[in-house]
């Protein structure tokens, strides 16, 4: 059994952010699996999505009921083989799973930042990660891999640190959030900030904006599924009764499922973090830095790319990946692209492990071969 442990890295220098503010005494929570090769050529950075954390694979103790969030993909002998590769995953800044975020204590005031935390961007998250990778003594990562918001971070790596990564695997992602994406995020934050417990972000640990955060999660969760997968899983099934109860408590199986997802999310995620991280994705727009020209934004790229989308993903649909691919091709980047046939919607990036894993495994193997030749 793969055992891992959470580690902390305190940034020595303050972190300058896109918004112009500076974050002091930043902590990064991270985990590693596998062994770093003597020439340090086998390091892979995994980027988590919106609600993920640094616990990507393995267990903390043999008795742990649940492994890390991508344990099917990563581990000894698995697609991303920790017998071969040194895998790193860190919690994003602004998060709530160990890295500095809105619930951390502001060293200037001695109180939690809450909504005084600076608005961060995807690029800021990557800036912090670069410090961690430098601290680990790795000059060049073999790969940066991530789905959804993780894919956004992966692309930021390729643009901002082109010499520091050999290949990038952005999965089910986009180069910019669309109006529809931003709208969903807005409604989610409205639910949180409209919860009486929210209190402008200054809630105490025993009075959290539970209802608002659960609602935000339920809404977002729908966008991670597809009509087909929901129909197949729940259809119009009733949860506890044989017929309609003609009332407004949950009747349908899908309602019960969403309620459960919302409840579980509240146990592990912080409402302010949710606001900050969704805001970071709203501001994500690679082309905007170059007058709307995505190809120009990718000009610095030197890494090879494997871009993957899923046929039923309507949150970040295949067309968004194709935009990325065409912009990369314009720069003559070594790029491979595949849309995986799947009915799971956006969540497919966590569920289509076999097809996606085979692609990632073979792609990494060939990249390592090229580097060794």
């Amino acid at each position: 059994m793969l055992l891992v442990e959470p580690k902390n890295f305190q940034l020595q220098e303050p972190l300058e952010l896109d918004c112009g503010r500076v974050l002091k005494q930043v902590n990064i929570r991270y985990e590693t699996a596998g062994t770093l090769a003597p020439d340090k050529s086998n390091a892979i950075l995994i980027e988590h999505a919106l609600s993920g954390d640094a616990h990507v694979c393995g267990r903390y103790a043999e008795s742990d009921p649940k492994p890390g969030w991508w344990d099917e993909m990563i581990g000894p002998g698995k697609y991303i083989d920790t017998d071969k590769y040194f895998v790193i995953c860190s919690n994003v800044i602004g998060g709530c799973s160990g890295s500095t975020g809105p619930r951390s204590v502001d060293p200037d005031t001695g109180n939690p930042y809450n909504m005084d935390f600076p608005v961060i961007t995807i690029r800021d998250m990557v800036r912090a990660q670069k410090r961690l990778i430098d601290h680990l003594g790795i000059n060049k990562l073999l790969s940066v891999i991530g789905g959804s918001m993780g894919g956004m971070q992966a692309m930021e790596w390729a643009i901002n640190y082109p010499e520091s990564v050999d290949c990038i695997i952005p999965i089910a992602t986009t180069s910019q959030l669309t109006s529809q994406n931003i709208a969903f995020d807005w409604v989610g934050r409205e639910a949180i900030q409209g919860d009486p417990n929210w209190n402008k972000g200054n809630y105490s640990a025993d009075h959290i904006p539970q209802k608002g955060l659960a609602t935000a999660r339920m809404l977002a969760h729908i966008t991670y599924l597809s009509d087909e997968s929901m129909s197949r899983k729940f259809g119009r099934e009733l949860q506890d009764a044989d017929s309609y109860r003609f009332a407004f408590n949950r009747d349908f199986a899908v309602e019960s499922y969403l309620e459960y997802q919302g409840r579980r999310f509240v146990e592990r995620f912080d409402a302010n973090s949710y606001c900050y991280i969704t805001r970071a994705t709203d501001y994500f727009d690679l082309a905007s830095r170059c007058g709307g020209d995505l190809a120009k934004a990718f000009e610095p790229v030197k890494s090879a790319f494997l871009v993957v989308s899923f046929s039923s993903d309507w949150l970040f649909p295949t067309e968004e990946s194709i935009k990325i691919v065409r912009a990369l091709l314009k720069n003559r980047v070594n790029v491979t692209f595949c849309e995986i046939e799947s009915s799971y919607g956006h969540d497919a990036f966590l569920l289509e492990v076999e097809t996606l894993g085979t692609m990632i495994r073979d792609f990494l193997r060939n990249r390592q071969k090229v580097n060794n030749d």
Binding site: K330, V335, T336, F337, T358, F363, N366
Partner: protein, 206 residues
Amino acid sequence: MIEQLYVDLDLRPDLEIIANLVKPGERVLDLGCGDGSFLKMLKEKHGAEVLGMELSQDAIIKCIANGVPVVQSNLENDLDFAGDGDFDWVIVSQTLQEMRRPDVILQRIVRVGKRAAVSFINFGHIACRLQLLTTGRMPRNKHMPYEWFDTPNIHFGTLRDFRFLCQELGISIVRATPIGQHFPLLTNLLPNLFAVGCVFVIEKKS
């Protein structure tokens, strides 16, 4: 009877002819690259810089295993990511007959490629003609096992048809290498009747 004549195409002599055209370091785009094994060979033996395009997910998975960069595409998509003459070669090997608009594709490939190598099976071959004449039905064999109504090969043509199309599109045929079988002399003399296939090297008329 037509079966026999296509046996050698199984070994893909067209690919052998195309491979010999590619010089070290040249950039090659292959439309309908299949499992990528041909591009892998071009990359490893000819030192070419390759890119494949392919529709099938299973084929793309094999391309990735072969270490060949491949972009999923239905091949009817615009090649507008590429500038004029960005590729030294664009290869379309036995794919043209599956395309909805071969004429549009030909114009695109001579734009993005300095030259293009196009190979296809000749429907003007004597065996096809005889089969159509004697049985009154569309030619079928084990390499073209489809019925007329379910075949992916929606645009069969003859070598002569191709020449006419190129002329109409302002495309010049730099070289034509007919692929024969039993009668090399006849194949070269009357390719449209005796060649089972052909590799055309084409370019935009300057």
